[in-house]
Amino acid sequence: MLALAFVALTLAALAGWKSGDVLPDLSAQGLEGKLPEDMKGKVLLVDFWASWCQPCAESFPVLEELHKKYAAEGLVIVAVSADEKKADMEKFLKKRPVTFCVVRDAAQKLVGQADVNTMPTSFLIDRAGKVRFLHDGFHGAETKKKYVAEIETLLKEKP
């Protein structure tokens, strides 16, 4: 029994996206909404969020700022909503309009695959399509500082 529980816990710990993993093809995940066409060779920030999550609301202005600052250099932000109701997501976005890409994982398939520990969770993907950095939650200026350093590191790398 204990051994079974141990195996289950180990498997659970191994699940989800980790640094070094190749990002699955986002266009094959049945996401609602339009994904950016030119994601290949770009630095990608995939952010899992939900309308009911307060730290997610706090993270949006920061993501918008990052998008405006680094989009021209090759950063693409894809915010994946895990909202069960589309109306909740739309209400949230009406209050906090953003210019980066927002899609909805209606079936919660991708977020389940990523197996995030908390909301929000974001993954920074390098130009080769590999997960390089992971952010559990959003902690204001501290997270923003990390984002900037990591994004600048990844943008400097050659495709």
């Binding site: 939900a50 309308s51 009911w52 999550c53 307060q54 197996d115 520990n117 909301m119 929000p120």
Partner: protein
């Protein structure tokens, strides 16, 4: 005899575990809904607190804030 007792306890434990569900972080929309908040009705809360204060010896400690999304 001992073995069958162990098997019985094991089987019972397995049956009990089927009742446990892990709510994943992205499934907490309902838990964090406004209607799940204990303080959603200020008048009702004040009345309840008055009743507790008047009738219960163990009173207080109900001031923990926060929603149920378990974020961050």
């Amino acid at each position: 005899m001992k073995l069958s007792l162990y098997s019985l306890v094991g089987a019972l434990a397995l049956v009990c575990t089927t009742g446990c569900v892990n709510v994943k972080p992205w499934q907490r929309g309902t838990l964090s809904d406004y209607t799940m908040r204990a303080d959603r009705d200020p008048l009702g809360l004040a009345q309840k607190q008055h009743i507790w204060f008047s009738r219960e010896e163990a009173n207080g400690g109900g001031g923990v804030g926060g929603g149920g999304c378990g974020c961050n």
